[in-house]
Amino acid sequence: MAWTWFHRLGSPPHVYAFARRWTPWFGGAALLSMLIALYGGLVLAPEDYQQKDAFRMVYVHAPAAWLSLMVYTTMAVAAAVGLIWRMKVAHAAAAACAPVGAWFTVAALGTGMLWGKPMWGAYWVWDPRLTAELVLLFLYFGYMGLRAGIEDPVKADKASAVLAVVGVVNVPIIKYSVEWWNSLHQTPTVMKMGKPAMDGAMLWPLLLMFVAFALYFAAVLLIRLRAELLRRERNASWIREVLT
């Protein structure tokens, strides 16, 4: 009984129907929570005593950076499931993650640079966290390049999955870089042991923005997963059914 959901996860028509049903809900909830969080962060939250209004960067930079890591972790777990259980849907999910993660890594790096300039006096420094995040971008590029470079889809799935799983070592390096090394980047404010070092009026819009980004990722992943499933499943009768 407990395993039936797992078997259903391996069935492309079931996953396709699930994705189609749930995308509008995830997308709608993401949009609504994003707008409320933006209003809370840009209008309602008071300015920081040190960084003044520049602290509001956190409402776009932190969720983007967090998503860049969450998408990679999701991709690595899906790739591992695909390797271990030879599940086609899992490989499709991993492939669907990569472009989304790469874009959010670009957003994390870009918004970080725009925050770094007024706070540190430089757009870029070869700091452990910044460097490790740049490596993350190259891992996404490597994953996508490898997939594009191998014609046989089964071989492409396997080779790219190995890269995704090996590369996951970079995720804790990024997360703990600010604690392990002497970093210019500030240490965690919210995702740490104990109470967040932030006032409630500043904190709720940030937490809501994290939720919004997670819901948004779910919606985009489900759309991309449907596209992947359609491309992979050739001449299956269920495709005829969903397209007519």
Binding site: G27, M34, L42, V43, E47, K52, D53, A54, R56, M57, V60, H61, P63, A64, P99, V100, W103, F104, V106, A107, G110, T111, L114, W115, K117, P118, Y216, A219, V220, I223, R224, R226, A227, E228, L230, R231, R234, N235, I239, R240, L243
Partner: protein
């Protein structure tokens, strides 16, 4: 309003950062929808070739 836009002088960094971050949010949604549309068209064409 202009006070809000200037963000205590940090507006010139803050607004481009928000434009980039939420631009990526919009772009990823558009790219995903386009990818699904293309995949549907390809699948339809395949079905027409092998009825």
């Amino acid at each position: 309003m202009s006070e809000f836009l200037s963000m205590g002088g940090y507006g010139r960094y803050l607004w481009p950062a928000f434009a980039l971050g939420f631009g990526v949010v919009v772009l990823n949604f558009v790219l995903a929808v386009k990818s699904l549309r293309n995949a549907k068209e390809e699948a339809r064409r395949r079905l027409e070739m092998n009825p």
